[in-house]
């Protein structure tokens, strides 16, 4: 997902310009010199300026030492195991967690918490390399444990859906 600075910078210019324009067209508050439009206008302009600076490589020299810093999990970004075989598709695996969360949003009300959660756990676990012998029991048990803590103890109204919990 490492994009060239020119791409991220241009994106910021567009985002900043859009924010500034969005602030500009907000209606002013009668009898008040400064309204809700000033702040987004300033931020949008600032963001666009930063974007321009990034496109032209300003401040890039400060980034050199970043290479020395390990990633948050303390490992250098190691090449993926079968990176060459799967190529670009391998990078898309990173999108699995947010996709599963959106799946939860769409499916939880209909299928119920237990079933949706079990599917999420199974998919995540297999994607991280677990065999079905491990992933299946985990998917069967962990939703109940989470339901016990959040649904029963903390009284979060989790959707029951197709499979109501025994308690």
């Amino acid at each position: 997902m490492r994009l060239p600075d020119s791409v991220t910078g241009s994106f910021l210019v567009v985002l900043g310009a859009a924010a500034a324009y969005g602030g500009w067209i907000l209606p002013p508050v009668p009898g008040q010199p400064v309204g809700p439009n000033v702040f987004p206008l300033l931020i949008g302009m600032g963001l666009a300026l930063c974007g321009l600076a990034i496109v032209f490589g300003v401040g890039h020299s400060f980034e050199e030492e970043e290479e020395l810093v390990p990633l948050e999990d303390g490992q250098a970004a190691a090449p993926p195991p079968q990176g060459k075989l799967q190529g670009k598709l391998y990078g898309l695996r990173a999108l699995l967690p947010p996709a599963l969360l959106l799946f939860y949003v769409l499916a939880a009300d209909r299928l119920g918490f237990i079933i949706t959660a079990a599917i999420m756990v199974y998919v995540t676990s297999t994607a991280l390399g677990a065999k079905w012998k491990l992933a299946l029991p985990l998917a069967a048990l962990s939703p109940f444990a989470i339901h016990l803590i959040f649904g029963k103890l903390l009284r979060v109204p989790l959707p029951a859906g197709l499979l109501p919990t025994p308690w």
């Binding site: 010199p33 990034i54 939860y104």
Partner: protein, 503 residues
């Protein structure tokens, strides 16, 4: 004074607080020791649970979990050379070298002991610094608050280990996120695109969970599994620590002080403190050649530093609502939820609650010693849990926790969206902490700015007229220009060296 102290004791000596603190300690130790799960993530995932606790118990869980997680990140650092949290990254190599020399007990013992000492030093700084600063802060008007907030935001961009331009861009993105919703000076829907869920704005907590937890699961999808921990028998862990304290008392004190200062600076937290202290220890050591070969001196200083920053990070948070680090950013969210709105009046009106926070920090750091030793002994079993069982549970907690915050599904969408934003930003060198600060402080900056502008009738001059405001303004502008000056200085120096070498 004595009565407030007694009140504070009464507040924390309930079963709820004691159990919450103990459970959160164990939770923090476990999460911190698992590589890839940071202390910030541990705290963020705790928030939904704190909803259902009393205010003091809620703060107790955060205090205990964050302190413990910062220490227990040292465990895999020393045994596997993989830091459990970013705060331990600075000295993981050193600690691992000690383990290879057969001094694992000494390295881990130094981790526990100097973490606890550092934590207590941090609390002392909180107790000493906060009340007099609160006195000063009582006379602050919106002008001072505006500059103070700006200074906080600028500090966060200065200390980021990345390009300052990207850090400022990250901060602007955070401020832009805080613009969403109808909570603005005009009360008009802003950047809501007609979506009703956006009217209430983006809640900081789901955004933080997304940035720190979901983005981490996303990263785990692409990185290989860390190796399992070799099982080993430990000798006495605390043996020799007193001798080290006497030998390196100056290094320990210096680590404490550096940690406290870095903790107070907005946006810079435990990981920064550890890096700076380790580098400082090497720079000023009498035997710098031993560093990197398994020398305990740097461990003492950096271990004392990163835990000191945890408590002192609460100073600006409690006083001004400006988070000292990302953990404090979450704590501020919880404080608001529990009716303990940050501000100088907190120290006069809710003095007993403040004393309770101090006491809990002290207890957590004392509790760290026995629990930490137990954790070191069982760490090999806990680290047996493969990532493919831990990460799915984290995902479930993200989904359920973000739903629980507002009992609506939009929270889950926010978490997913910010997971992607955090992942992309981190991968491209945009510091996430700067954005988080922008989100948390956005509303406050805008309110202070717009109110000041209305008071001054659109004129800029009053922003500099009050003495304290002028000083803060000079500091904020200086912080903004600092990278430019460094850049110019480097440019000026470069041609000279080139000329010198070409001759």
């Amino acid at each position: 004074m004595l009565k407030t102290l007694l009140d504070a004791f009464a507040l924390i000596s309930t079963w709820e607080v004691i159990i919450a603190m103990f459970a959160a300690s164990v939770y923090g130790l476990v999460i911190g020791s698992l590589p890839g799960l940071s202390a910030t993530m541990a705290t963020a995932l705790l928030v939904p649970v704190t909803f259902y606790l009393s205010p003091i118990a809620a703060i107790a869980t955060i205090v205990a979990a964050s302190s413990m997680a910062i220490f227990s990140g040292d465990i895999p650092g020393a045994l596997l050379r993989i830091p459990g949290t970013p705060a331990s990254a600075a000295y993981a190599d050193e600690a691992y070298a000690m383990t290879r020399k057969g001094q694992a007990e000494l390295a881990l013992g130094a981790g526990v002991w100097f973490s606890a000492v550092g934590g207590i030093a941090g609390v002392l700084s909180l107790m000493i610094l906060a009340p007099p600063l609160a006195e000063i802060a009582l006379s602050f008007s919106t002008f001072e608050y505006f500059w103070l907030a700006l200074l906080g935001l600028m500090c966060a961009t200065l200390v980021a280990r990345s390009s300052p331009v990207k850090a400022i861009a990250g901060m602007f993105i955070g401020l832009l996120v805080s613009c969403i919703g109808i909570e603005n000076p005009g009360g008009v829907p802003r950047f809501t695109f007609g979506i009703t869920d956006l009217f209430g704005g983006i809640e900081p907590i789901p955004a933080l969970v997304g940035v720190f937890a979901v983005a981490q699961v996303m990263r785990a999808m692409l990185t290989p599994e860390p190796p399992p921990l070799p099982r080993r028998k430990f000798g006495s862990i605390m043996a020799g620590q007193w001798k080290l304290t006497k030998l390196y008392h100056w290094q320990m004190t210096r680590g404490n002080i550096v940690g406290i200062i870095i903790g107070v600076l907005p946006g810079a937290g435990a990981d920064m403190a550890a890096w700076v202290s380790y580098a400082m220890s090497k720079r000023f050591s009498k035997e710098p050649e031993k560093f990197g070969t398994g020398h305990v001196e740097g461990l003492v200083e950096a271990g004392a530093s990163n835990n000191a920053s945890i408590a002192s990070g609460w100073v600006p948070s409690l006083l001004f609502g400006i988070p000292g680090d990302t953990i404090a950013a979450i704590a501020i969210g919880v404080l608001y939820m529990k009716g303990l709105n940050p501000g100088p009046t907190l120290f006069t009106e809710k003095a007993s609650s403040m004393y309770a926070i101090y006491l809990m920090f002290i207890i957590a750091n004392i509790l760290m010693i026995p629990l930490g030793i137990a954790m070191i002994r069982v760490a090999a079993y806990i680290l047996l849990a493969p990532r493919s069982t831990v990460m799915p549970i984290i995902m479930l907690c993200c989904a359920v926790g973000s739903f629980a915050i507002g009992n609506n599904m939009f929270g889950v969408v926010t978490v997913a969206a910010f997971g992607v934003i955090g992942y992309v930003m981190e991968a491209n060198g945009y510091p996430v902490a700067a954005m988080v600060l922008g989100i948390v402080m956005g509303t406050m900056v805008e309110q202070a700015f717009v109110t000041s502008l209305i008071k001054s009738d659109g004129s800029i001059l009053p922003f500099f007229e009050r003495p304290v405001a002028a000083i803060l303004a000079a500091m904020a502008i200086g912080a903004l220009l600092w990278p430019v000056m460094v850049w110019v200085w480097r440019k000026l120096k470069q041609p000279q060296t080139v000329v010198a070498t070409s001759r």
